[in-house]
């Protein structure tokens, strides 16, 4: 429309908004075709937004704690577990799960919709991640009949270690927890036969430890027996759960049942992990492979421990140079330590899928549960609030909206239609965004979210009201509609941005720091704030620019809501090129009452913004108050008047001004 680059291009902006909306709904529609929401695919796209537990119902999972020693978990354990479960679920999206304890020690988790197996794992597995050195690796099957054969099979991989290990095991079996001095003496004796050169570098480090965790002497006969008896092909041995003692050796299966291990004491705890995330493995030359891995970063303590461990292990023979990552008592990965890793970054590979890698990263981020849980029951539950509540609530909200429309039309006449249209656009955009988000990040609309949206009506409408009032203010100052729209926008924009920024800060802070329902609310608040900005910038303002060009508005039709005469502009306005517009009402007809006259004509062409006052700066007398031209004239007249001028009423004076100025 407008071709000059200096002029505003409202049509272009409106078209941009149109394209945005089309893209929004187009992607949603494409989503429903490509990834439809079905019974099997609860995370798929749908044209309606997902509803939260309170409005739609979902699945109730009852979790029962599993303790290996049969002891009762304490209330503190349960609270801690609820805490961790909530964090894990929150990290998955904004689904507002409901988590509570039931009876003595059960935990009930309510999740909207139908949870996938990953979600159930997320809430029920303990995720105790521990890093242990590998002492011995064996075939997964148990060989109870022939111990020596099994031992040989197990130690085969360990090359010539076996005899050594058994010997030293015998020697030190009784005093595992030897003092450092003992150990230092022991270690060279044990290993000098294999790798004296390597060992010498390790010796100083070992003196600081009470015991070298890689020391094969830890394999006691009982442990060996346990190891032999373990059959990792049996499914019940692959459930995991018991993470074993932290300070001594431990027997574990690989999580896929392909091997069994004897592991040394815990070297690094999962709590030393600072951050974990999942992604595709990046190969050595920067090529992205299609293998899913979990990348972890240790905190400072973990980094140091990890560096020490990799330093020690790298030099050891196989399988002692392997490092087992043990999750809930199962070895998920046991990589060979090839180089010293000084920066505390490690990668866990294993048989991960995208979802299971993400689940593990999530679990590692929020620490382990103090207990492992068993899913006792998993059932569909109905909405906690009746569907009746939502329907009647929406009905009531709709009536409220109708009242808003009536009020806007009453207050702003035809301009009220702009408000209504803007609110309508805001509603459409919000609906689209919520639908897309419930597809992509699992957003669920709860009743609290609905309440947030209703308040958003107020905040969104306020932006228009601020803007319209600014336009009216500018009209009152005597501008044409076109320039009033521009000038009013410049000032309103600042206010709108400032107030929305505050709201947005609130939303972000609450989203990142709060949990549960508060988080869902914060998300809705942030969302509506952004939608508000989009609508004001891309719809209301360009629409006003367009409307300002129509005769109906520009000439200030009484029904337009922008009639300068109704806005108190009673005097003529210079329209340029010698033309004067306005001044339909005789100046002062309404104001000629004695009360108003001086006020209206109180001769101060001073505007509300004080900066403009400098207009009169040149006529001040000395350092006294600056006077306006009219004031100065009045003062001169007073000075020239005879002595009785002192009791001349100010009204008369002002009236004199009026006469003088209206010639």
């Amino acid at each position: 429309m407008a071709t000059s680059s200096t002029r505003a291009r409202p049509v272009r902006t409106l078209v941009t908004l149109g394209i945005l909306i089309v893209v929004l709904f187009g992607s949603l529609f494409a989503g429903t075709k490509l990834d439809p929401k079905t019974e099997d695919n609860p995370g798929g796209a749908s044209l309606t937004p997902g509803l939260a537990l309170d409005l739609e119902g979902g699945t109730q999972i009852i979790l029962q704690p599993v303790t290996t020693d049969g002891s009762q978990p304490t209330a503190e354990d349960i609270n801690q577990a609820i805490n961790v479960i909530r964090q894990r679920i929150d990290a998955q999206g904004v689904s507002e799960a409901e988590i509570t304890s039931q009876g003595q020690n059960n935990i009930v988790v309510g999740i909207p919709g139908r949870p996938s197996q990953e979600t159930i794992d997320l809430v029920s597995t303990s995720a105790q991640m521990r890093f242990r050195p590998v002492l011995s690796v064996g075939m997964p099957t148990a060989t109870p009949t022939d111990e020596t054969a099994d031992e040989a099979a197990g130690e085969d991989a360990a090359a010539d270690e076996a005899p050594d290990a058994t010997e030293s095991a015998d020697a030190t079996a009784s005093d595992d927890a030897d003092a450092a001095t003992d150990e230092a003496a022991d270690a060279p004796a044990d290993e000098s036969t294999d790798a004296p050169a390597d060992e010498s570098t390790d010796a100083p480090a070992e003196t600081t430890r009470p015991e070298d965790p890689s020391d094969l002497s830890q394999i006691t006969p009982e442990l060996q027996e346990q190891f032999d008896a373990l059959d990792c092909t049996l499914p019940e041995n692959l459930v995991g759960g018991d993470s074993g003692p932290t300070d001594s050796a431990f027997v574990a299966c690989a999580d896929d049942g392909t091997a069994k291990y004897i592991l040394g004491p815990v070297e690094i705890e999962g709590t030393d992990i600072a951050n974990a995330n999942s992604g595709l493995r990046v190969g050595q030359n920067g090529v992205v492979t299609n293998e899913w891995v979990v990348n972890i970063e240790f905190d400072s303590e973990g980094t140091k421990a990890f560096r020490d461990v990799t330093t020690r292990l790298t030099s050891l023979p196989s399988p002692q140079n392997q490092f087992a990552m043990v999750l809930d008592g199962l070895v998920i990965s046991a990589p060979v330590s090839q180089v010293v890793i000084p920066d505390g970054k490690a990668e866990i590979s294993g048989s991960f899928t995208r979802d299971s890698a993400a689940t593990l990263a999530n679990q590692l981020n929020f620490g382990s549960l103090p207990l492992t849980f068993e899913v006792q029951s998993q059932e569909q539950i109905s909405a906690t609030l009746g569907s009746e509540q939502l329907e009647k609530g929406l009905l009531a909200g709709a009536i409220g909206m109708l009242l808003v429309v009536i009020y806007s039309l009453f207050q702003y006449r035809v301009l009220g239609l702009v408000t209504v249209a803007s609110l309508g656009i805001a509603a459409v955009v919000t609906y689209g965004v919520i639908s897309v988000l419930s597809w992509t990040i699992g957003y669920r609309l709860s009743l609290a979210g609905v309440a947030g949206l209703i308040v958003a009506i107020g905040i969104t409408a306020d932006s228009f009201i601020v803007y319209f009032e600014r336009i009216r203010d500018e009209l009152r100052d005597g501008r044409t509609l076109n320039s009033a729209v521009e000038k009013g926008w410049q000032r309103a924009r600042r206010t709108i941005l400032a107030s929305d920024a505050v709201n947005f800060v609130a939303a972000i802070v609450l989203y990142y720091l709060a949990v549960g329902g508060v988080r869902g609310f914060a998300f809705t608040l942030g969302l509506t704030t952004l939608v508000d900005l989009v609508v004001v910038f891309l719809f209301t303002h360009p629409l006003m620019q367009l409307l300002a060009r129509t005769k109906f508005f520009a000439n200030g039709h009484p029904a337009s809501g922008l009639d300068p005469r109704r806005l108190g502009v009673r005097t003529a306005r210079y329209a340029g090129r010698g033309r004067v517009v306005g001044a339909t009402a005789a100046p002062g007809t309404a104001d000629d009452t004695t009360q108003d006259a001086p006020a209206q004509d109180a001769p101060a062409p001073e505007r509300s913004a004080p900066v403009r006052e400098t207009v009169g700066a040149g006529v001040g007398r000395g350092d006294g108050p600056r006077m306006t031209i009219a004031e100065r004239r009045a003062a001169e007249r007073r000075a020239a008047a005879p002595a009785d001028g002192a009791d001349g009423s100010p009204t008369a004076d002002a009236a004199g001004d009026e006469n003088e100025e209206k010639h």
Binding site: G57, I78, T100, S101, Q102, G103, E379, Q380, I381, S382, T384, L385, Q389, K392, L395, A396, A398, I399, Y407, F410, L447, A451, G452, G458, A461, D462, R472, A498, S499, V502, V505, A506, V509, Y512, L513, A514, V515, G516, G517, A522, L525, T571, A572, R573, Y574, T594, Q595, A599, A602, A604, P605, E606, S608, A609, P610, V611, E613, A630, T651, A654
Partner: protein
Amino acid sequence: MASGFAQWGNDLYTGRRSYAIVAKRRAYFVVAAVLVVLSLGIIGVRIAGDGLNLGIEFRGGSEFTVSGVSDTSQQPALDAVAAVAPEEVPRVTSVGGSTVRVQTAQLSNAQVEQVATELAGAYGVDAGEVTSSYIGPTWGKDVSQKALVGLVVFLLLVSLVMTVYFRNWRMALAAVIALFHDLVVTVGIYALIGWEITPATVIGLLTILAYSIYDTVVVFDKVRENTAGVLDQTRSTYAERANLAVNQTLVRSINTSVVALLPVAGILFIGAFLLGAGTLRDIALALFVGMAVGAYSSVFLATPLEVELREREKPIRDHTAKVLALRAERTETSGDDEDAALAAAGVAAGSRQLQPGAHQGNKAQPRRRRPR
């Protein structure tokens, strides 16, 4: 009336009509203080009495599971609980196809027995099919704690943002004080009515925080605009400028409040009477009261407070003294015009404003001397 309202808006804008909100600030401070003390008193009485009416989400409660029912409709359960504990509003959920879950606030042992019997009767199952257990809060201490931490960080950050935006920490302080006023008064009124406090209520309160700060920022932005460069002139004081700002945004404040409150009022008055007790009613009440108080406080408390704080700044204090002195001097020497004229126009002292002039048309321009 619309034209009357428009005219009123015009008069407020030009300053012809002006409410001395800032000048009478002490009265508004007293009102606010009384409201806050009353609210705290009500909350205190409630806590000292039977405690705040916290929902099961906060306190935990009793849960009944009725298995093997043929009809999972909710009404029998509601009736059964109402027969034993009339003031209870249970949460009834159907679990699977043949189980009903009923959650109530914690009941005494005798009541639990009674409710179990009633439920068995209502659903026509054996008493053995009804099990009861204690459930913990879904909104535990850690949730409240996290929300509180979030709130404190939010307040600090918002104060920081406002301090940077307005380049004045006193404005941020005034806004935060007004926020506390809103919060306390809303909770007080809620406690007075005595409805159950649910997570929905808490979320309603958080919404109010956001709305209150928002509204205050809009008003303060006008104050900022009007008081920019106030020290460069000697015609009006800072307080008068701020007062004009409040008056000029009054129409906006009223329009916004009405538009924001109408849908909430719809839910509160229509919804509550249609639905009776429920989450929607709780949240609507919290929102309605909070938004009304928030709109009131940003005009009648935040701005006067802001002026009160700003006048402690030395430049502004000196400026105010200078303006008043000059004004007195002028009144003495000229003996008339400005104040008298303004007073005649109905502009009360303390909110005095000059009228903006207007273009007088080309007739007001000096005539060009035509060569003859």
